[in-house]
């Protein structure tokens, strides 16, 4: 359905995407995984026609470079940095993009309902919370019911509760049969959504694997056991969850999944929140 063939994007002497080739099958969910600067967003922007590139990207057999408008009809896009017109209401925003996409006006209200924003339609977009804006972006992406959803770091700016809600919506979208391509550097996001993961680093594709294999293939499952005063256990769980850690209770302490080079991060997070850590152990 989507095929990248030897795609290269350079900014001056800097190569952001280097000879990238992969394919996404219909109804597949594919994650572009990697650290900041890996070239994930650049690869997405090439697909959307926002950047010129060398190589070929085709969607449903159409060259994205030559038939950008037709290709974008097949895509719904949720950007990383949400850039809407802040003084426009959520409903007016949906109506505006519905007209641009050639969709009936009635779909605007339906799209807001679909993402749980029907009662916030009159609010200016600038007054919505980060989670609501992200849901609005998803609603706009689904306005024309496109077969492909493209998401750039969809939950990177959300707190834990909003992230869980948004991921649940994306799982529904995937179950509805959409093809999904998204960028992420969050393990739980990839595990929750992706069938296949493409690992990128320095603009190059370094690994392709099933999502379930990713932690083991990359050695991502370092686990830290933290011992805490019993009185602070609940608060520690809340603080770590809010900060985005995968955490579970373990007797008088907690178990936290971390990246191998970030084992001290949960301790620092608890320290910043005035939660005392009495001991720790790397498992």
């Amino acid at each position: 359905m989507i095929e990248y063939s030897h795609v290269t994007k350079r900014f001056g002497k800097f190569t952001a995407v280097d000879d990238l080739s992969f394919a996404v099958q219909p109804q597949e969910a594919l994650a572009l995984w990697g650290p900041n600067g890996a070239g994930k967003t650049t690869a997405i922007k090439c697909l959307l026609g926002l950047l010129r590139y060398r190589g070929l990207i085709s969607v449903d057999g159409m060259d994205a470079g030559k038939n950008g408008k037709a290709v974008r009809r097949l895509l719904g896009y949720v950007p990383q940095e949400l850039a809407f017109y802040a003084d426009m209401s959520a409903l007016d925003t949906a109506l505006f993009y519905a007209r641009l996409k050639g969709v009936e006006a009635g779909r605007a209200q339906e799209a807001l309902q679909q993402v749980g924003l029907a009662e916030h339609g009159d609010k200016p977009v600038g007054a919505l919370s980060g989670g609501m804006k992200q849901r609005l972006a998803l609603g706009l992406a689904l306005l024309a019911d496109p077969p492909i959803l493209v998401l750039d770091e969809p939950t990177s700016n959300l707190d834990a509760a909003a992230r869980e809600l948004f991921l649940a919506m994306l799982r529904d979208v995937k179950r509805a049969g959409k093809t999904v391509i998204f960028t992420s550097h969050r393990l739980e996001e990839v595990e929750a959504l992706a069938d296949t993961v493409l690992v990128m680093d320095g603009g190059r594709l370094t690994l392709v694997c099933a999502a379930a294999e990713l932690p083991d293939r990359l050695g991502l499952r370092s686990r830290v056991k933290l011992r805490l005063p019993a009185s602070q256990l609940e608060r520690a769980l809340a603080v770590l969850t809010t900060a985005g850690f995968t955490v579970s209770r373990n007797g008088v302490g907690v178990l936290v999944d971390v990246l191998p080079d970030q084992k001290a991060q949960p301790i620092q997070t608890l320290y910043d929140a005035d939660v005392e850590v009495t001991d720790f152990e790397v498992l």
Binding site: G49, L75, Y97, L100, A144
Partner: protein, 279 residues
């Protein structure tokens, strides 16, 4: 085709809505309307009589007002058009939709041009009303309408220059700064620069007239003065030369030049926008 027109009109409507919320644009519009009213009233009161003399004085005042304010309005909103959206990130999101860059460009241009026309219509409308009420409106309504058209053409020319500046920059503040510099250059430095160059280089009169055509404000000024049946003698030797050299064809030359000033920078702005590969 219908879908393209719908897209362009949707974008134009949004631009008009934004113009109504743009404090600077509203301020310029209010200033233009208020000054048009004041100049009309003062010109008629100063003439002491109604009729053609009153019309001529009012029209001459309006020409100076247009020369000052219309380029400022058009250059400022034109300069913000693309750069401001690029800076806010809204342009990338807009272009990620199933619409073409030509539609985006035309929609923005149409919306701002109509906003500009509405602002001019308000100022000229108020002034026209004053003249009608005072009895001098019947003096030459055709010339008055032609003056409005010329002012709108000047506005389009400056809007296109503003769009070109906007398409060449990434920051709205830089674009507006360049727009203001160009306004100064066109409105104030243009006359002085031409006079200085003519004296220093001992330019022939034909070259002086050709130089005048390089400034849309000067072109508007000459066309507007011709329109109200005044003599171009007041523009000095270049004006006299133009009248003697081109006669009845002079107005067509000036209108064509003003139209070129609207088209050429506009096309260049679109080409830059369309080929921008760094969004």
């Amino acid at each position: 085709m219908t879908s393209s027109l719908t897209t362009i009109w949707t974008l134009a409507q949004k631009e008009m809505r934004d113009a109504l919320r743009n404090r600077w644009f509203l301020l310029y519009t209010a200033a233009f309307a208020a000054l048009a009213l004041a100049f009309s009233w003062l010109a008629l009161a100063g003439a002491g009589i109604a009729g053609f003399a009153g019309f001529g004085r009012t029209a001459a005042s309006l020409i100076n007002l247009v020369l000052l304010i219309v380029p400022l309005m058009a250059l400022t909103i034109g300069a913000q058009s693309i750069a401001a959206e690029l800076e806010r990130g809204t342009l990338s999101y807009l272009l990620a939709q199933p619409i073409g860059r030509l539609e985006v460009f035309l929609g923005k241009y149409l919306g701002l041009a109509l906003s500009l026309l509405a602002a001019l219509a308000l100022g000229f409308g108020i002034s026209g009303l004053v003249m009608v009420l005072s009895g001098s409106g019947a003096a030459d309504p055709g010339a008055y309408v032609a003056l409005v058209v010329l002012a709108f053409l000047l506005g389009l020319a400056m809007l296109s220059v503003g769009f070109l500046v906007s398409a060449l920059t990434r920051k709205a503040s830089v674009a507006v700064g360049i727009g203001l510099f160009l306004w100064l250059a066109f409105v104030f430095l243009g006359d002085l620069g031409m006079m200085g160059t003519a004296v220093a280089m001992k330019l022939p009169i034909a070259s002086l007239f050709a130089m005048s055509l390089s400034n849309p404000s000067q072109v508007f000024k000459m066309a507007a003065i011709l329109d109200i049946n005044a003599t171009l003698d007041i523009l000095g030797p270049a004006g006299m030369y133009a009248v003697h050299q081109y006669g009845q064809g002079l107005l067509a030359i000036l209108l064509g030049t003003l139209a070129l000033w609207a088209i050429v920078p506009g096309v260049l702005a679109y080409l830059r926008f369309a080929n921008r590969g760094d969004l």
